[in-house]
């Protein structure tokens, strides 16, 4: 039992998230996330698929027994029915609220206390392995 649970948790960790999606054009499911990769299957627009994971501009989709990669722009997430915000709660920050707001100087002073700095931000970036880089068309 423990072994099965362990295998289950390893399999789950491999998925970033699995959520339903819909193709919005004819999609070539490719073997790897590359435009010149081999096409494994073609899926018509309007097909319900499973979005297995995303790597940057590419997503891995599962359509029936086929799984492959296509562009993130080739799918959309279906509109949720009966959304999370359920009943009619007053949203608060609407046009009316903006219209009658008076400046809150105390709250603004509080905002300033949260400020980062060049030094802190650079350390934060380093800790997250974020390197500043030029975006240039190479090769």
């Amino acid at each position: 039992m423990l072994l099965l649970a362990a295998i289950g948790s390893v399999a789950a960790a491999a998925l970033v998230f699995a959520e339903p999606a819909v193709t919005v054009k004819e999609v070539s499911l490719r073997q790897t996330p590359a435009s010149d990769a081999k096409t494994l299957a073609t899926v018509p627009p309007g097909t319900r698929v499973n979005l297995v994971k995303r790597e940057g501009a590419w997503v891995e989709l599962q359509a029936g027994k086929n799984t492959g990669w296509t562009k993130f722009f080739d799918i959309r997430l279906p509109v949720a029915t009966g959304g999370r915000s359920g009943g009619a709660q007053t949203p608060g920050l609407d046009a009316a609220a903006l219209g009658k707001a008076a400046p809150n100087v105390q709250e603004f002073s509080l905002l300033l206390t949260f400020a980062s700095s060049k030094q802190q931000a650079q350390a934060f970036a380093k800790a997250g392995k974020l390197d500043a880089r030029k975006l240039e068309r190479n090769q």
């Binding site: 970033v16 903006l98 219209g99």
Partner: protein, 307 residues
């Protein structure tokens, strides 16, 4: 002093030349309504047929009286007044850990933007609505409702980077200058000594908040999306975090009350996705190596369950 449009004997064409320059300038400055047609030069041209029931060409509109350009110091004071106004509508989230985390992500992005020297401040607004705001001078806000829809630091970075782009491109500053009455400049100049809660502060905040309630021209939103993605990419984030956020927003029912203000002040997520697909250079994909799943994001915010 002679009125500027009065003809004179020496320069009989001064009127039409000046009028022409004025209308071309007003067209170049842009309008808040992207659908308004550009003013036509005052030369006779054959009307297209069949013509609508119009009797005569209306006179060209007078050049808009835009507030003069602000110094960076003035821009910062204006932005602070608008920020204080916004915080009057909805308070900050109280978690120091979350706010510091947001500021670290944001400041790092800003360091890799075109205006790293501004006094950048980032704040989570404790509102269940879905929205983000940026003031001139570098105050950026994200609502709790929007944060809860993100899944990762790169998605959060995508949101902050496009707000930073609004500031870098001076979109809200230009909106303020176009919509502030000319007499407001005296309030701008005196704001530092009068304080954010003074009549000057209130007057400036009023114009800024009206701008938030109205929304920017569509082109400004599309431009900030594109530049924001570049800022995120230059900061080492995989650049498609914003695309993921737009996909999520596109899936929210349009009548969800949390989206009410957002929907009336932005082009639809569907339009923004279509525009980005067209505008993003394909070679950006080379920079899309995914960021490692950062535990610090989950430590600060619990990501939403999959749909």
């Amino acid at each position: 002093m002679k009125p500027p449009f009065a003809p004179s004997k020496r320069y009989p064409f001064a009127v039409s030349a000046l009028a022409l320059i004025a209308v071309l300038l007003s067209a170049a400055c842009g309008t808040p309504d992207a659908n308004r047609p550009a003013a036509q030069p005052q030369v006779t041209a054959p009307a297209p047929s069949p013509p609508p029931a119009v009797v005569a060409e209306p006179p060209p509109p007078p050049p808009p009286e835009i507030l003069r350009e602000l110094t960076e110091a003035e821009e910062i004071e204006v932005g602070n007044a608008i920020a204080a106004g916004l915080l009057g509508a909805s308070p900050l989230a109280k978690s120091q850990q979350q706010q510091k985390y947001l500021n670290n992500v944001g400041f790092w992005l800003a360091l890799n933007s075109g205006r790293p020297e501004l006094p950048w401040h980032f704040g989570i607004i404790e509102s269940s609505t879905i929205n983000a705001f940026a003031t001139p001078g570098g105050n950026v806000f994200v609502t709790r409702g929007l944060i809860e829809r993100t899944r990762s630091e790169s998605e959060l970075a995508g949101i902050l980077a496009r707000e930073i782009a609004h500031v870098v491109q001076r979109h809200y500053l230009n909106d303020f200058r176009k919509n502030a009455p000319k007499w407001l400049i005296a309030d701008v100049v005196s704001l530092k000594s009068n304080g954010l809660a003074s009549d000057s502060g209130r007057a400036i905040a009023r114009v800024g908040l009206e701008g938030f309630a109205r929304g920017l021209p569509r082109e400004d939103v599309f431009e900030a999306d594109k530049i924001g993605i570049a800022i995120a990419g230059r900061s080492g984030y995989e650049p498609y975090g914003l695309v993921a956020v737009l996909q999520t927003l596109n899936a929210i029912p349009p009548n969800d009350p949390a989206m009410a203000l957002f929907n009336t002040t932005h082009p639809s997520p569907a339009d923004r996705l279509a525009t980005l697909e067209k505008d993003l250079p394909p070679w950006y994909e080379a920079f899309a190596k995914p960021n490692p799943a950062l535990a610090r994001y989950s430590a600060a915010f619990k990501p939403p369950k999959p749909l």
